[in-house]
Symmetry: C2
Subunit: 348 residues, 2 copies
């Protein structure tokens, strides 16, 4: 295990180096101080923290079938920049002030502006900056040095990942304004909004770049189930994790009205009175400590907490079986197995 941690750290370092190099190239070619300023903000936002889970998974998807070199590290930063793009737009939509323990992108931009209605202008710059780093992500992939056919396969997959994530985001917005507590719908959402671009998509891109298409279906299964397990665990951390470690308010999921599996199962297993209480918590927008603690107790007493943990284990098991069907580099597959554990035992 120590060995895996060291290798993950090593990969992270190589990814960060390529990210820094790419931003340096974009700043060097830029001849306008305002645009350079925004690119610097994009660099700072991207370089600040982040576990680099997605690029690491792209590298793993590749390493299962081919010997990794600098090209795959260069290609892998594409998905990390796509992550910045999505987070920047997400934080505008959610009106989030913080991200990874620092101001969210639009808030960071707001601090650099003077005058009236800077809030709206900062959001506008952030929308455009998100669109801009989306194009960077694409360029980084296309400049990675791979051959045409594999590159186009990966590029197509990349586009489909962002498409599915966008669809998930739209479902998420509609869910937030409708009084529907449905596990099926939630799982669809977790697949589209998380599994696709956090696990399955990056692995598929890596596999396509390697040129081996034999295990695409198994990778799809692994990615789907691992991704859903990851998101369910994320929701668990969102309600029971440490604010200090997750870098966001422990109340933010509830204040955003997120109907997580924890909420859905608690709702299903509750009396009419408690259901009204859960609904009121999710619509409050600024829940107080007492109601928040009561809500957490309900999640535990209704068995929802245990149910969610059980579901995480179940999906984790399905992911593990799919992984076992893939005939690829042993070391990488074992590392993917280790990563699966890490994803659902992490604290942030």
């Amino acid at each position: 295990m120590e060995n895996y941690r060291k290798r993950l750290d090593d990969l992270r370092e190589r990814i960060n180096y390529q990210l820094e190099s790419y931003f340096k190239y974009k700043l060097d070619e830029c001849n306008d101080s305002k645009i350079a300023h925004v690119i610097e903000k994009l660099r700072d936002f991207t370089m600040n923290g982040g576990k680099r889970v997605r690029p690491i998974l792209m590298i793993m998807g590749y390493s299962m079938f081919a010997e990794p070199d600098d090209r795959i590290i260069k290609a892998s930063i594409s998905i990390e920049m796509a992550q910045s793009f999505l987070l920047i737009h997400d934080d505008i939509m959610d009106q989030s002030d913080m991200r990874r323990g620092k101001p969210s992108f639009h808030r960071a931009v707001e601090k650099t502006l003077n005058g009236d209605s800077v809030e709206r202008i900062a959001e506008n710059i952030a929308i455009s900056a998100g669109d801009l780093i989306d194009t960077f992500s694409h360029e980084a992939l296309l400049r990675s040095g791979f051959g045409l056919e594999n590159l186009l396969d990966a590029d197509f997959e990349f586009s489909k990942i962002i498409e599915d994530t966008g669809k998930g985001q739209i479902l998420d917005i509609y869910s937030s304004i409708e009084d529907v507590y449905s596990e099926d719908r939630l799982l669809k959402l977790h697949f589209l909004k998380t599994a696709r671009y956090t696990i399955q998509g990056p692995l598929l891109m890596g596999a396509y770049l390697s040129g081996n298409k034999k295990y695409i279906q198994d990778i799809k299964d692994y990615g789907k189930y691992a991704g859903i397990a990851f998101q369910l665990y994320d929701d668990l951390l969102g309600l029971f994790g440490s604010e200090e470690k997750t870098g966001k308010s422990i109340k933010s999921d509830v204040n955003e009205g997120k109907k997580t599996l924890l909420m859905i199962k608690a709702y299903e297993n509750s009396s009419e009175e408690i259901r009204k209480f859960i609904e009121s918590c999710l619509k409050n927008g600024n829940i107080n400590d007492s109601d928040f603690n009561r809500l957490r107790e309900i999640v535990k007493s209704t068995g929802s907490y245990e149910y969610t943990k059980q579901k995480i284990d179940e999906y984790n098991g399905l992911a593990r079986s799919a992984l076992a069907r893939i005939d690829g580099n042993r070391d990488t597959i074992e590392m993917l197995d280790f990563l699966l554990e890490y994803l659902i035992k992490r604290e942030n």
Copy 2:
């Protein structure tokens, strides 16, 4: 000339057919009613009007060097969908209620929602829908059926076009909050925000898809100068055109505080007192008829109107020379020449 109009109408019809087919395919593969609803809205927004200038130019860039077939029509819809993506995000940023004589995308979505704070939610759906159609534009290009090498060249160019447009958008936002009246800066903005993606980029994509890279520099020159002429003319229409024909309020450029060449030259050629008046008009946000008419008179009396028209002719001439250097299909080049006239004599 009648002949050109007929051919342009014919191209528009073929482009619209491929757009309809693509949206039909996206709706057929979609298994969620909420997402399908948003895709329908994207279809309606894209199909409503639009002169299809960009896809037509991509087809021309191709036709200069190769015999056009269905593949280039299919590829050409990519830039029209990118246009929808950019307009949707633009209208959110500008808080515009109308587009092409109908409600802007976020306003159209807002009408379908019930309950509190639907304005914000409609904007969030619109941000995501914009991101979604951006991925559609990419997919449409990749599925057009061209060979790998030409496709990747065009794909790379596509990504760079959107990158430059994003940079232009950022410059535009900063310009709107700074008291700088600079012709140089404006021309940079017009190049990045308009010339690149309206003229130069589409033509280059078409040329790359044809596989002929010999006249890339001449196409770049033609596209740059024609694009700037187009935008300067657009600014002219924005202040002196017909509301009915442009489909937007004649005051919207002024109310958005746009420092067009008309404003910059009027400012440069005015006394301190008139400068203060111009500044106050651009900061007003809701100018009255009397001030608006006085502003238009100042633009004429300072010679700014004539200067702008002269600049349009100058850039138009530079575009024409660049075009003359290209050895390609005569018919197409003559049609591009005709289009140049059309772009700066149109009424909407």
